[in-house]
Subunit: 233 residues, 2 copies
């Protein structure tokens, strides 16, 4: 594959846009777009090959609030071919306008998720016959999926420094106790389970909250889950 390997170049916004342009050419698509959300870093990323006119219009109309290609893909493990989406009023509204900008309603969105609640959506569009589309997709889907993982990994990696600085080191005991809280146990229960005083449990939870910069224990639980330190019970 001759698309630039994002792992080997400096990370600027232009690099991602170029990556999408190259991907678009290689896989014979009209357009490509990547959208990424990183809750742990509070970051949102978006790169597209569309012209500025459609980008502005999409934003002004608030289409991201109703765009079913986004919403259905966020609920899917596998790639979502737009031909399988319901042609409801939201779909029609977005793509009636897209037509006016010369954009096709035939496309595909590939969701990728990371371990800390981060999500990336790589979308590609191509205006051609359904038969041609099916052949094209069947031919390139594996590589597109690999590309989706690649760009999402790289974009999230560029948030990595922030996450390293942000990512606190909870002690073993602190993690253990937070996990019990996530399972619904009270401080007294946890003390009984671990054969320690419930006052000690309280101390560890306080330390956990401080390290996670959380005002409450419930918030600390949520953050620890988001960071992959514990799991929902």
């Amino acid at each position: 594959m001759d698309i630039v390997d994002l792992g080997t170049v400096p990370k600027t916004e232009a690099v991602y846009s170029d990556f999408l342009l190259q991907l678009r050419e290689k896989f014979e698509m009209d357009h490509a777009a990547y959208a990424g959300i990183n809750p742990a870093a509070g970051a949102i990323h978006g790169y597209v090959t569309y012209g500025d006119d459609w980008k502005q219009h999409y934003q002004q109309q608030g289409f991201h609030m109703i765009d079913p290609t986004l919403h259905m893909s966020q609920r899917s493990i596998a790639p979502v071919d737009w031909s399988r989406l319901e042609r409801g009023k939201d779909f029609k509204r977005v793509f009636r306008d897209a037509h006016d900008f010369g954009l096709s309603e035939q496309g595909l969105t590939i969701p990728v998720r990371g371990p800390y609640g981060d999500v990336g959506l790589l979308s590609v569009t191509r205006d051609c016959s359904p038969e041609q589309w099916r052949k094209l997709v069947g031919h390139v889907i594996s590589d597109l999926q690999s590309m989706a993982v690649h760009i999402h990994d790289t974009v999230m990696g560029s948030d990595l420094l922030g996450r390293i600085l942000y990512h606190p080191a909870l002690s073993t005991r602190e993690v253990e106790i937070l996990q019990w809280v996530a399972v619904g146990k009270s401080q007294q229960d946890i003390g009984d389970i671990l054969s320690i005083s419930h006052r000690t449990v309280e101390v560890h939870l306080r330390s956990s909250r401080e390290k996670l910069c959380a005002l409450t224990t419930a918030q600390a639980v949520g953050r620890a889950i988001g960071l992959g330190l514990i799991y929902p019970g």
Copy 2:
């Protein structure tokens, strides 16, 4: 591609094992394994092409607690080639034993995540020279990634009925208030923010706990995050 499409056959455990056997043959691997966790359904899945002797030994030794191929992959967006793992005491412990069962320490694990906290790990191993391995992986990685998504999607889909039954419908207000809790606000704060009584906040939280089968609000926050209903604050 001539591997059976899991979407077209009845879902039995033998089907997944056959899928892995076929995948192993097609991509010239020694072995293939899939492990999946579905927190929302409380389900754990595992299918492997290894013999029963290694499966039993792996379980008896509790290797899943220390296996770095599992732990590092769970923290990665992209596939993890085992050659890049640190040869620490855990790695050595697992693979010293694996050698005794004729299994290679050369492999690759591909993580896949779904929208509800579910995680799937597809691993493949092949005993050959590093040069051959690099060529083989470069040739098949895209297809392996697509396969990983495919099997994980299908396994999680087989939990779908459970998830539909289990997945509670929180009201808009309940979700909104749980999100504020996840941000660290107290019930009084939330009442002030939303211009409602803190007693009303309490009622919504109790309803949320009931629907999420949670004993505490902290547990409810964790579950809601795991279900993708709210996000860590």
